[in-house]
């Protein structure tokens, strides 16, 4: 057990100048489960993509049984015996289960696909995993847990020596997780090395032999799981001193501004009730897929809630569309800046003016100069670094793009501002600028709802913290009560 099966050292990777991985280091051992832990954006997904050959490392070394290897393509990763099970099941929904298992290496006879053999071999592998899955079924008909099993079947068919599981339990029920773990333990007993990525500490302590912690693209700690406590892992994950990054301004909290009662929608979320006060930043924490964005989209009118009431300043609102929400004084800064938040190819001025066009126009026409004047106001106020308001959004840095998107919504004079992952994918300096901006906004009497998956951000900026899990509100903490442990516990406990 002394020599690792796979060993990464000093692996780096950047995308368009943004460093995703600055010091990727991890060792995987045969017959052991290594848990990879880190916040969103710590570089875990990049590491997985490098290991599976989807991306190539810019620098550093990958060794297999001591010998340096290059993983130049997904094919090569497969030949090295590396197979991955992804969080969002990466499968072919309209192909059969059998073909999904053997997609990288379909059984052949005389150079042609041998469907009978493929089905038989799929049957044999699936019998050990879940006999209820028919190899002829289209993938679409399977549950998420079953789709994971099919990916595991793919790894087994490849005789993978290294199995990567990227948050495989994120969308599974408690019982399904148990079934999955039984299978993982079997893979381990067969001598395979397993890289297990999870946000859930129970699972990590339950399953893993070793741990590795990543923060901001670098490995910050590793060792045997028996030598570490949950608190130690959390402090490794979070790392930096909270005060430096989060310039939380002391703003007096005023009267109740906004209230949601019993909001429910289909199978997405149920019984969501909370209140927001003037001058308050309300953090909404949860794991990816907890239903937080779905709630916000319903509040903003992008989708319709089945039940529930929304009140703003004591008036009940009937929000049927984003237009209604904007008119009522609710603004939504969406999670994906580049797709939902702004129009990259438009100039800054058009981006900022977009939701305010009805105010800017006179009898359906608008003047360019009004658009520019409005945009210039916000460029000044938010200190957006740009050569001018006619510069295209795509030419700005991530942080400045985000400021434009925020400015666009401030221009609608909202009273409630919903920010979904407001600092996702921007560097630390720009993050701090966004936080400062949030402070200034609440000082003017706005209420902010901040949806975030980053624990330090929620703890650093929010006055109160709501925790969601599986479509429900599970806990509420005041700033004083909140500890990382209690929040993570509420977000993960099954």
């Amino acid at each position: 057990m002394s020599e690792p099966l796979l060993s990464l050292s000093g692996v780096t990777k950047s995308f368009a100048g943004v460093h995703a991985l600055v010091k990727g280091e991890i060792d995987l051992y045969s017959g052991e489960v290594t848990a990879l832990i880190g916040e969103n954006g710590a570089g875990k997904s990049t590491l997985v993509k490098i290991l599976t050959g989807v991306h190539q490392a810019d620098g550093g070394e990958i060794r297999m049984e001591g010998a340096p290897v290059r993983i130049g393509s997904a094919d090569q990763a497969g030949r090295l015996g590396i197979s991955a099970i992804h969080q969002e099941a990466v499968v072919f929904d309209d192909l059969s289960v059998a073909e999904n298992i053997f997609v990288t290496d379909r059984p052949r006879k005389h150079g042609m696909v041998d469907w009978a053999t493929m089905r038989e071999r799929a049957r044999v592998i699936l019998d050990e995993l879940d006999p209820r899955i028919d190899p002829r079924m289209p993938m679409r008909q399977l549950s998420v847990a079953q789709k994971h099993l099919v990916q595991i079947a793919r790894a087994l068919s490849n005789e993978a020596r290294i199995v990567i599981m990227d948050e495989p339990t994120a969308a599974l029920s408690h019982r399904e997780v148990e079934e999955l773990f039984t299978i993982v333990r079997r893979l381990k007993a067969e001598g395979r090395a397993i890289l297990f990525i999870s946000h859930k500490f129970e699972e990590v302590f339950d399953l893993a032999d070793r741990y590795a912690v990543f923060r901001d693209g670098a490995a910050v700690g590793h060792g045997l799981i028996q030598d570490v406590s949950r608190d130690q892992l959390i402090s490794l994950m979070v790392g930096r001193s909270v005060d430096q990054v989060f310039p939380k301004a002391a703003v007096p909290i005023g009267e109740e501004l906004f209230r949601v009662d019993g909001l429910s929608r289909g199978e997405e979320f149920a019984d969501i009730s909370f209140a927001l006060r003037r001058g308050e930043i309300l953090g909404v924490y949860g794991l990816v897929g907890a239903g937080r964005s779905e709630v916000m989209q319903a509040i903003f009118g992008l989708t319709r809630a089945d039940r529930g009431e929304i009140n703003l300043e004591g008036r009940s609102l009937a929000i049927g569309s984003p237009e209604d929400a904007i008119t009522s004084g609710i603004a939504y800064v969406p999670e994906d800046r580049q797709i939902q938040g702004g129009i990259l190819r438009f100039p800054i001025a058009s981006n900022i003016a977009l939701p305010s066009l009805s105010h800017l126009s006179h009898r359906g026409f608008m003047r360019r100069s009004d658009e520019r004047a409005l945009a210039e106001d916000y460029v000044r106020e938010l200190q957006i670094k740009t050569s001018g308001v006619s510069q295209r959004l795509e030419e700005l840095s991530g942080g400045n793009q985000q400021k434009v998107v925020i400015g666009k919504w401030l221009a609608t004079h909202p009273r409630v501002l919903i920010m979904d992952e407001p600092t996702k994918g921007i560097d630390v300096g720009a993050k701090t600028a966004v936080y400062r901006l949030m402070g200034e906004m609440v000082a003017k009497g706005l209420g902010i709802i901040m949806v975030s998956s980053e624990l330090p951000e929620v703890m650093g900026m929010a006055d109160r913290i709501l925790v969601m899990r599986r479509g429900r509100l599970r806990a509420t903490f005041t700033r004083a009560e909140a500890t990382p442990e209690s929040i993570v516990k509420a977000a993960t406990d099954a």
Partner: protein, 332 residues
């Protein structure tokens, strides 16, 4: 649901479409027994053979999430080139003609494919451009002149007309292309990868399938078939000129969509496309028989296509909204 090879399920799209086609045929024939006159049926088969071939080629491209608007222009250009070749070398025989048609068609397809794969231009833009370029080239190579039957060798004209078991070679080639395409998509590794690349490009990348390369391959296949169809078209109608098959690409795409090929990629099969082509062919041939004014025929066939597409779209409508709540906790 449209069919994908290798999957067994309830009633596939093809059964419904097949029944609909038979129903249509029955309706037209009961009202106008003249419709099923042998000559009419033969010409129906010959007409739809060309449509079906081109639609099968188009299907390869649509399966990989692309679209090929240049198939008809490709056929026109290739048809003109082989007609000119025949006019200059009247004794060359049928083999060089077929080879030139297929190779040249494939080369024109490769141009599309490389622009999509290597230059990363969306296929609709690429083929909108090459559609005009290829049409323009017909004019360039011919100088705007027609190549008439008088300039064509007897073998060039008669090849498509030779009956085998009462069915013309043209129809047999249509059948052959459909069967080969079916076998290719079902049994060849690259055929299967076309489905995978179109069904989920992201997952395909993880599985080591080069999605761009698959798109390029689809264009080459589509082009090769279009080239072959170009010769067959020119030989059948015994004339080559700039506007051969002008606008035909729209019918080709319609045949695919009616046949259950999903515009979003990765779903569809040869059988559906064949039925889609027959369906369109019957409508096109029936409308004059039924006595609908030529001025209305386009509108009527357009209406039928639109209805077929709407019905098709219905099968894809997925339930929106994610499942987040645990099953026991779901409130509705």
């Amino acid at each position: 649901m449209p069919k994908i090879p290798g999957i067994r399920r309830g009633m596939p799209h093809e059964v419904g479409l097949g029944l609909l086609t038979l129903l249509l045929l029955a309706l037209v024939t009961t009202a106008f027994p003249r419709f099923l006159v042998i000559d009419n049926v033969k010409s129906l088969f010959d007409d739809t053979a060309l449509l079906i071939m081109l639609a099968v080629g188009e299907m390869f491209v649509i399966l990989t999430r692309g679209i090929d608007l240049s198939v008809a222009a490709n056929a026109a250009l290739t048809g003109m080139v082989v007609a000119l070749f025949n006019a200059h070398y009247p004794g060359a025989g049928i083999v060089p003609v077929l080879v030139i048609a297929i190779v040249m068609g494939a080369a024109l397809g490769l141009v599309n494919g490389l622009l999509v794969w290597r230059v990363r231009i969306p296929s609709i833009v690429v083929t909108l451009g090459t559609l005009s370029v290829y049409r323009g080239c017909v004019y360039l190579v011919s100088g705007g002149a027609w190549v008439n039957s008088g300039q064509m060798s007897p073998f060039f004209l008669s090849f498509v007309r030779v009956p085998i078991l009462g069915v013309s070679v043209l129809s047999w080639i249509g059948i052959l292309v459909a069967v080969l395409a079916w076998a290719y998509l079902r049994y060849a590794i690259s055929g299967r990868n076309l489905y995978a690349a179109g069904n989920n490009p992201n997952a395909a990348a993880y599985a080591g399938i080069d999605v761009g390369r698959m798109q390029c391959l689809a264009f080459v296949l589509s082009g090769a078939i279009a080239g072959l169809a170009g010769y067959l078209w020119v030989a059948r109608f015994a004339v080559a000129y700039t506007d051969v098959a002008s606008g035909f690409e729209l019918q080709v795409i319609a045949a695919c969509v009616i046949g259950g090929v999903s515009i979003t990629g990765g779903v569809g099969g040869v059988l559906g496309v064949v039925l889609g082509g027959l369906f369109l062919g019957i409508i096109k041939n029936a409308l004059p028989v039924v006595g609908i004014s030529p001025f209305f025929q386009m509108a009527v066939s357009g209406l039928v296509i639109t209805i077929a597409v709407i019905l098709n779209a219905g099968t894809y409508r997925k339930s929106h909204g994610r499942k987040i709540l645990e099953r026991s906790e779901a409130t509705s």
